[in-house]
Symmetry: C2
Subunit: 200 residues, 2 copies
DNA sequence: ATCTCAAGATGACAAAAGTCATCATTTCCC
DNA sequence: GGGAAATGATGACTTTTGTCATCTTGAGAT
């Protein structure tokens, strides 16, 4: 019997998946959470065989939860289940060594298959991802990401200046470089591109 | 027996809801779609009792599908099921006269309850929405929304000019007015605010 | 000890963006 | 028909942005 844990902030999907997976003869859902902190606490206690993990959740996101579990060498296997085919997410997940990465866009059968394969020691990644996307590495440095995140909210150069303690010229140099890297024509387009790719 | 139709672009949720609702003794799922155009075609043909409709879908969004159904006086009842508590969406849905509006953040029981109540002629709106949010009306005119949508992608004044056939001075006047209405300090912040509220 | 590289800073310039007052048309409403 | 909106346009002016070449400083590496 595969003991499952599900972390997913969208309650309706959490409930629906929980009920359906519980009906599989070889699976049992032993716990659920709707945010990252609860997930960590529960997983440490319950030691499930497999954790299904959404990425975008309150408190701690799914990748952060995975990081904690990896650091503590928890033996539970992790399957990331997310809406977004964002290269940045996938890249991070692979680096963390998760056992599976699926899109919510797939069928349920795909999910049950993946759970069984992962239990058998395999790694499963959604075929939608493994082709061109994996190569698209985030070209922005952490500092550039931070600056672009602020710029995306509409903050001016001067405001960014006083948040990061850098001169306004330096901020403008950074933004100029960001625009260049992303092939954008101004900071707003740069933000729009980076958001779509999951790079900020 | 309540004949259901589900339109939802996230296949995993679509499949899960479909299976679960089909297990209810008094309900039967007679059709599904993963985009707005398919949904319209199928609903016109099948004439279901109740349509569950996501908002953010490819081709036509859920509100646009609802609009078509209302225009053609299709008797099927419509329940909007969405992730986002965006005032703009809720406002439009209510104006269209939909029969229910639920968040995906709720429990499944809430959904089955709602379906039965709607069949009994009631209207059901998620309590999370009906308080303050409903009052927050989109202050932007359709033209302003269109311009801000383009600006949010990082298009320059000149580019917007040639898409909308307006002079560049006029575009700048519009953007100036948008910034004022939203209490922003530049077009990027205006876009960020409007996106969060679901106004563009 | 020197070489190199990354992180920041400066200044000068051109191009966009934003603000405002004012004006021309059209449309709609009594 | 006359007045009031709504829609669009101009021009003049100030800030912000974006670009680029150049400079400083402090690590690391050898």
């Amino acid at each position: 019997m595969i003991r499952l844990f599900i972390a997913e902030d969208q309650r309706m999907l959490l409930g629906a998946l929980g009920s359906l997976l519980d009906m599989e003869d070889d699976m049992k859902v032993i716990g659920q959470a709707t945010n990252g902190e609860e997930a960590v606490a529960a997983i440490l206690k319950l030691q499930p065989d497999v954790c299904l993990m959404d990425i975008e959740m309150p408190a701690l996101n799914g990748l952060e939860v995975a990081e904690v579990l990896v650091q503590r060498s928890i033996p539970s296997k992790i399957i990331i289940l997310t809406t977004f085919a964002r290269p940045g997410y996938f890249e991070r997940a692979v680096k963390l060594g998760v056992h599976g990465y699926l899109l919510k866009d797939g069928e349920i059968d795909e999910l049950t298959d993946t759970i069984r394969k992962v239990m058998a020691g395999k790694r499963v990644f959604s075929p939608d991802l493994t082709f061109d996307i994996i190569r698209e590495v985030n070209p922005l440095t952490p500092k550039e990401q931070e600056i672009l995140r602020l710029a995306a909210l509409g903050k001016t150069t001067k405001e960014i200046t006083s948040e990061l303690y850098l001169s306004s010229g330096t901020i403008r140099n950074y933004i100029s470089e960001i625009i260049h890297k992303l092939g954008a024509k101004n900071r707003t387009e740069a933000a729009s591109i980076a958001e779509k790719k999951g790079w900020i």
